[in-house]
Subunit: 331 residues, 2 copies
């Protein structure tokens, strides 16, 4: 483990990949790894890229990598796939477009599925980010594969979240319905050379300026107003402006204190997810399989699930100690 960590710190891609695998699998050595990584972590700017399939997330990611590499920065790409039963390996095979960066020692590309991690995305993503940071990444691009709630969850791991859209892949109302208006720090209309781009930009600007849901969840008192940037990621057009907007967001956040508040909120979610994963693990390793017995009674309609949940907690204290008052009675 320590050898692996030393190799990852030296920027050896294979070691980085193996450490992310430990995260995916919720390996028993993970706490030790994270403890070793924690001091000094938090240096990299974590940029989330999210949006419906077909908007050009991979192409935009690749274009951003090219731009960042041109400045000599070390870049990590974490493609998070919360819904797939397949692990990273399979997905990596698809990422043909990333091949131009495959041999670059300053780029680390890794896919991650989170099914194996009891703490889910909220626990797995920050741990993987720490690995990429340890490898020296200045910026980590977190790209979500798939859609749905997971998109919103992944954005919670980013310092700056870019919400991507493109003409013909849904309108601004759908973005709002998916809850993405609330999480976007920068909105990107990709494929801006296509029909319908102009009206998409206009609709987005209107919705962002109305901004009621965004105001509620974004840092209170933040002076940041999410811009709408136009790109043609396949040609690189507008990618410089996108990068400038992402950096302007960081500066604004750091000046307002929002940066630190958001990182603390992320830490809060990570801690909670790890604590809950630990409780869940205890449920499953209780002797006498009380969860199975309770499930039988609830499944057959002999017991209600709330009483069963209280009994389960009663049998699985989160810390050791003599049996006291029942959890059922205490609430």
């Amino acid at each position: 483990m320590h050898r692996l960590l030393a190799q990852a710190r030296a920027g050896r891609p294979r070691a980085v990949g193996r450490l992310v695998s430990l995260v995916e699998d919720d390996d028993p050595r993970l706490p030790e790894l994270v403890r070793a990584l924690a001091p000094g972590s938090g240096r990299a700017h974590v940029v989330g890229l999210t949006g419906a399939p077909g908007v050009g997330k991979s192409t935009t990611t690749t274009a951003l990598v090219t731009a960042l590499r041109a400045e000599g920065l070390v870049v990590g790409v974490l493609a998070v796939d919360p819904s797939s039963p397949f692990t990273g390996g399979a997905l990596l095979g698809d990422r043909v477009r990333m091949q131009e960066h495959a041999l670059d020692r300053g780029v680390f590309i890794r896919s991650m599925a989170s099914r194996g991690h009891l703490g889910g995305l909220a626990a797995a993503t920050p741990a993987a980010l720490r690995v990429l940071e340890a490898a020296g990444c200045d910026v980590v691009l977190v790209e979500t594969v798939g859609v749905g709630q997971s998109e919103v969850e992944v954005s919670a791991c980013a310092d700056t979240t870019c919400v991507l859209m493109a003409p013909g892949t849904g309108d601004a109302v759908q973005v709002a319905k998916a809850g993405l208006l609330e999480v976007g720090d920068v909105f990107v209309v990709n494929k801006a050379d296509r029909d319908g781009a102009r009206s998409l930009v206009r609709d987005l600007r209107t919705m962002v300026s109305l901004g009621s849901p965004a105001e509620a969840t974004r840092e209170p008192g933040s002076p940041w107003r999410p811009p709408v940037v136009q790109t043609v990621a396949s040609t690189g057009e507008g990618v410089g402006e996108l990068l400038a907007a992402v950096r302007a967001h960081r500066e604004s956040q750091q000046a307002s204190g929002g940066w630190q508040r958001r990182r603390r909120r992320r830490a809060r979610e990570e801690i909670e997810a790890l604590a809950l994963a630990r409780v869940r693990r205890r449920f499953r390793t209780l002797t006498g399989a009380p969860l199975d017995r309770l499930a039988e009674e609830v499944g057959d309609g002999r017991l209600d699930p709330y009483t069963a949940a209280a009994a389960l907690l009663d049998g699985a204290p989160t810390r050791e100690g003599p049996r006291g008052r029942s959890a059922g009675g205490a609430e």
Copy 2:
């Protein structure tokens, strides 16, 4: 509450709607409600409908409602929207296609968002199903809105899961990648009159017969082989065959014991979700806001999240009792 419950049992739609709202909001009276509903629950056949946007889930649901109503059965429709920040009301407005059933006293239609429920979908959906059962539903159709992991989660609440596809909305490989091959008990190729339907049916049949992932998660020793049914839901074509396949699945499951095993597994997940929600609630109501303090330390890189999680559990025992050995040391 008891009056509301009595009204719901008498089939009053407004009371049913209000009880589902209690579920959505994780109302403090929910345990009481679920305790009252638990005895005798489990009568209805819960049928999940899942698939990518555009495959015709709503149209298929409507066609199934028509077919079931023709037999005089009482039908519930639960449209679960895990990703939307909007609650049921807003969505119901969209469901123009359902209007033909809106005045039918034998049909209960309700959308449900689950963001308000600390236990998430795993806890909210079974509670909503119990409400619809209490209203007398013989069959409840659970339709997911949106895509992603949530689809797979919702299917976990169904006795029989129908995975829908249509020509032009993605191929069989995408269904496999979304993890839907594993959860399908019946596969439906809707819009079967369109180009590409035949090859879609063929591909699906091949993948289902290969069926390696399905075998792993489906009931061991189950004699059920998921059929591929073709429908044109908008005209009602094939809907009778679909209903027959759904019922054949129930009979096969009941004969093999898979029915009961699956319901117990669902109960297991529900209990666990409720127990974890309770732990989470305790984290958030701890005096002295230790979670905020720990998040600050982890966010600033002064503490690692695993040690923080252990400290959080140490301060928030799941049952009352004198302080014993620390949870951190016990694992």
